[in-house]
């Protein structure tokens, strides 16, 4: 575990409170990976593709995506990441949003989202969901090990 490239977490979430709660729960679950937080789609996309330390150029990442963003729809970002031939196509995307509309969930899975988590008002289930996210994170780390 000592030498492998750490998975950075890219969180695209416009609500500061939600972002803070997600981060707290991630940390509480014992996950210490870097978290890059963006509150809008434009700067998030710029980081994902163009930043020298961004996932397109350096190392694997996990994207936490909110669907309600001020400048663009989360499903647009999802569609772009998961498009054919995109360097980030294999990057896991976890959609974290307030919508529990069946059609919308379906649409996200169709676009290639890996996990869909509804932000519940019930805090316990929310914390549970984040803990499961931690498990998920440890699972995606596995393929990285043999590379080292």
């Amino acid at each position: 575990m000592n030498n492998h490239q750490p998975v950075s977490i890219v969180m695209i979430e416009d609500d500061e409170g939600h972002a803070r709660l997600i981060e707290k729960n991630i940390r509480r679950a014992g996950i210490s990976n870097d978290i890059h937080h963006f509150t809008d789609g434009t700067s998030a996309l710029a980081y994902l593709y163009d930043a020298p330390d961004g996932p397109a150029h350096a190392g694997p990442a996990l994207i936490l995506l909110d669907l309600n963003l001020p400048d663009m729809s989360g499903t647009d970002i999802l569609g772009r990441i998961k498009a054919e031939g995109n360097p980030l196509k294999r990057t896991p995307v976890v959609v974290l949003t307030t919508t529990d509309d069946k059609l919308e969930i379906q649409r996200c899975y169709d676009l290639g989202c890996n996990v869909y988590i509804t932000k519940p008002v019930n805090y316990e289930s929310f914390a549970d969901a984040i803990r499961q996210l931690g498990l998920f994170l440890s699972v995606i780390q596995v393929p990285d090990l043999p590379e080292v």
Partner: protein, 505 residues
């Protein structure tokens, strides 16, 4: 405005109609009078013509008498001069006819006293004249011709003859006077007749043209109102279409609005809930620290801080938590309503007995617990509409009936009846539960509103949802109830769902 002007038209129309009917009746009455008058004048004319011809007859009789007198005189004179029997025969024939001619004249002028007097005088004169004439004829026959001829010199017969002639001419004058009068009368009646005919003609023309004018006016009015109606109808259809589109747009707007609002309301709620949980865990840690301080360094223990950590904070957090939970339920209800409004309606043929039986089976346990008799006494009419919506409508009402059945009620029952009325199916769901105060009959269908004792859990969503669904199916829902006497919910629903019938609410 429109109604007012229509009323005005109706009023003037009534007045006008009475006038027209009156005028036409008057016209026909005038025609009748003219007809009677014409008949009368023709009869008068006939009467006068009769009298005119009578006068001519009298004149003819006078002339006849005159001629006979002349012939008798001529015959006598001829006989006196020639002594021939032939001429005597002329005299005899003429004098024999004179009596009857005079009689006829008398008969004809029986109505005229003046002529009667003339005839009486004439008769006397004629008698005297004949006495002379007979005498002279007899003298000739006896051979005393000289005496007879001599009698010519006597002026008496000549005078008699003159008197007879003047009498006859007086009679003629009288008759021509009468003729003049009668002719005038006849002309008068003819004039009246012509005047009547002209009057009749004028009235006929007036009535005829009046009738034609009225008919034309009516036809024109009818045509105009038909055209107006047609254009109004077209306008109405257009207006309805426009209105429906507007409604549809407004509805869609509300759907989107409700959806967006409920999403955006949820987002801050996640924060409130999340950080409340953070506060809670922090409070627990604080309380634990307070316990330790109390244990290890009682001199540091502060009563107020302990109270805050152990009671005030948990209480505040508890209230925040229950309120947020309630708010979440309300937002979810709005979200559900808005989603229900967007769900497409898929009509299918529904066996309502099966649907209702299914609802009864679903609530079997609650029905058994409260010992409620759930019954469908007769066959329910089948409908073609959305299954899910119908199940939710009936399910909600039955659920309420069970929920608000007082636990101590003996012989609780829920009865579902149905019948078809034209193109609508009417269903009744009747219970003998606690009932609903009449002032709340409309209120219970509003979102988040409830009625009566708040002793049952609920947010006041069920019936609002039910009514929204009913409207979508083109149905109406109403309630009839009295406190303590149970409630009857009535659902009036189209037998077959038509897409443009329902409102998306």
């Amino acid at each position: 405005m429109v109604r007012l002007s229509l009323q005005n038209i109706a009023v003037s129309e009534g007045w006008f109609n009475r006038l027209v009917v009156g005028a036409v009746a008057l016209g026909f009455f005038a025609l009748l009078v003219v007809g009677v008058a014409a008949f009368q004048s023709v009869r008068d004319n006939q009467f006068h013509a009769q009298w005119v011809s009578h006068t001519f007859e009298v004149e003819r009789a006078i002339a006849n008498f005159d001629a006979l007198m002349e012939r008798a005189e001529t015959g006598r004179r001829g006989y006196l001069l020639s002594g021939e029997a032939n001429t005597a025969r002329t005299y005899n024939e003429a004098s024999a006819q004179l009596g009857s001619a005079l009689g006829r004249l008398k008969e004809l002028t029986r109505d005229n006293i003046r002529q009667q007097a003339n005839i009486a005088a004439l008769t006397a004169l004629a008698r005297r004249d004949f006495a002379f004439m007979d005498q002279s004829v007899r003298q000739v026959r006896a051979g005393h011709r000289d005496q007879a001829v001599k009698s010519f010199q006597v002026s008496v017969p000549l005078q008699l003859m003159r008197q007879i002639r003047s009498r006859l001419s007086a009679m003629r004058a009288e008759e021509s006077r009468l003729l003049e009068i009668r002719n005038q009368a006849q002309r008068q009646t003819l004039r009246i007749f012509y005047a009547t005919i002209v009057a009749a003609g004028i009235i006929l023309i007036l009535v005829g043209s009046g009738s034609i004018w009225v008919i034309l006016r009516y036809t024109r009015d009818l045509t105009r109102s038909r055209d107006e109606l047609r254009s109004l109808n077209a306008d109405l259809e257009g207006a309805v279409r426009e209105r429906t589109t507007d409604l549809q747009r407004a509805n869609d707007e509300i759907q989107r609005f409700a959806y967006i609002v409920s999403h955006d309301l949820r987002s801050p709620l996640v924060n409130v809930m999340g950080f409340t949980a953070e506060l809670e865990s922090a409070t627990k840690r604080l309380a634990a620290m307070m316990d330790r301080i109390e244990e290890q360094a009682p001199e540091l223990a502060d009563k107020d801080a302990q109270l805050a950590a152990r009671e005030d904070l948990p209480e505040a957090i508890g209230f925040i938590r229950t309120s947020t939970q309630k708010m979440d339920r309300l937002i979810n209800a709005i979200l559900r309503l808005s989603r229900e409004g967007r769900r497409p309606i898929t009509p299918e043929r529904l066996d309502m007995n099966a649907v209702v039986q299914n609802i009864g089976d679903t609530h079997h346990h609650q029905l058994a617990d409260k010992d409620i008799d759930f019954s469908v006494p007769s066959q329910l009419p089948a409908v073609t509409t959305d299954r899910l919506a119908i199940e939710q409508i009936f399910g909600n009402i039955v659920e309420n009936a069970i929920k608000y059945m007082p636990p101590d009620r003996n012989g609780g029952r829920i009865e579902i009846r149905g019948r078809v009325d034209g193109s609508r199916a009417l269903y009744e769901i009747a219970d003998n539960g606690r009932g609903i105060d009449p002032k709340d009959h409309e209120r219970i269908f509003e979102l988040f509103r409830r009625s009566g004792a708040q002793d049952q859990p609920g947010e006041g969503i069920g019936l609002a949802h039910t009514r929204a669904l009913a409207y979508r199916l083109g149905a109406t829902i109403s309630v009839e109830s009295e406190l303590g006497r149970g409630a009857t919910f009535r659902i009036n629903l189209p037998v077959a769902f038509a897409a443009d019938q329902g409102a998306t609410t």
